[in-house]
Amino acid sequence: MNHWEKIISSLDLTLLTSLKTLNNNARGAYCGDLLSDVLANASGGDLWITIHRHRSVIAVASLLNIGGVIITGGRQPNQDALIDAEKEGIPLFSTPLNNFQASGRLYKIFSKQG
């Protein structure tokens, strides 16, 4: 399985943007629902795990060169967030897992790579 296939199957992700947003491999992950905390601590290339689904998440993700956004708990993004993600080339996913479960599964994947 390639990089994205492994992440998508392990976290039961649904890719909501087009396939071409999966251009670059993710390099790590950060989980946070306070936007200022993510601004301070997430790195470029990280997958961002969050419960939020509004367009400011994409604005912050774009500023930080985030590698992808995973919305947890089966929540769906607002339409304008989805449009912005596509425009910015940021893969946007939803998962039925919660923040803890999604983080744990990504930790497994990235710690093996490290």
Partner: protein, 141 residues
């Protein structure tokens, strides 16, 4: 080079647009990656402070070869106690803003951490002026 952006209070549909343009401008002139990261964090936090707390404001970017300056000037309630506002966790943001993940009381501390110089002037019931300077360190940090 300088650029100026109008920012409107409570306009969350456009929140972050000025910061996105600032990022593009800094990339175009070839600023260091670490400088751009710090400058966009300062710009975004300052822009959102205007959106969340003020009626309106202006975000201005000045680019010099050795540094970036960001000035945020707003018409709004002002900050009665700047030292208190600088403490992480202190916030006066309303609940509906906090529900979006803003207003955690980390904005000004984030700005301070990313700035080499920071000046804040505020008058209650009038407005706030913030000036942040970020040096363009060629060697990264």
């Amino acid at each position: 080079m300088n650029m100026e952006f109008n920012v409107r209070g409570m306009d969350f549909t456009r929140a972050g647009e000025a910061s996105a343009k600032i990022k593009k401008a800094l990339q175009l002139v070839g600023m260091e990656v670490s400088t751009i990261r710090k400058a966009v964090i300062v710009a975004y936090e300052a822009e959102l402070n205007i959106v969340i707390h003020a009626r309106q404001g202006i975000l201005t970017l000045f680019v010099h070869p050795d540094r970036v300056e960001i000035i945020a000037e707003d018409e709004g309630p002002g900050i009665p106690d700047i030292a208190l506002a600088m403490q992480e966790g202190y916030s006066t943001a309303p609940p509906h803003v906090r529900e979006m993940g803003f207003g955690a009381g980390m904005g000004l501390p984030n700005i301070k951490r990313c700035s080499d110089h920071l000046d804040i002037d505020s008058r209650v019931n009038s407005g706030t002026r913030l000036k942040a300077t970020i040096f363009n360190n060629i060697n990264g940090e």
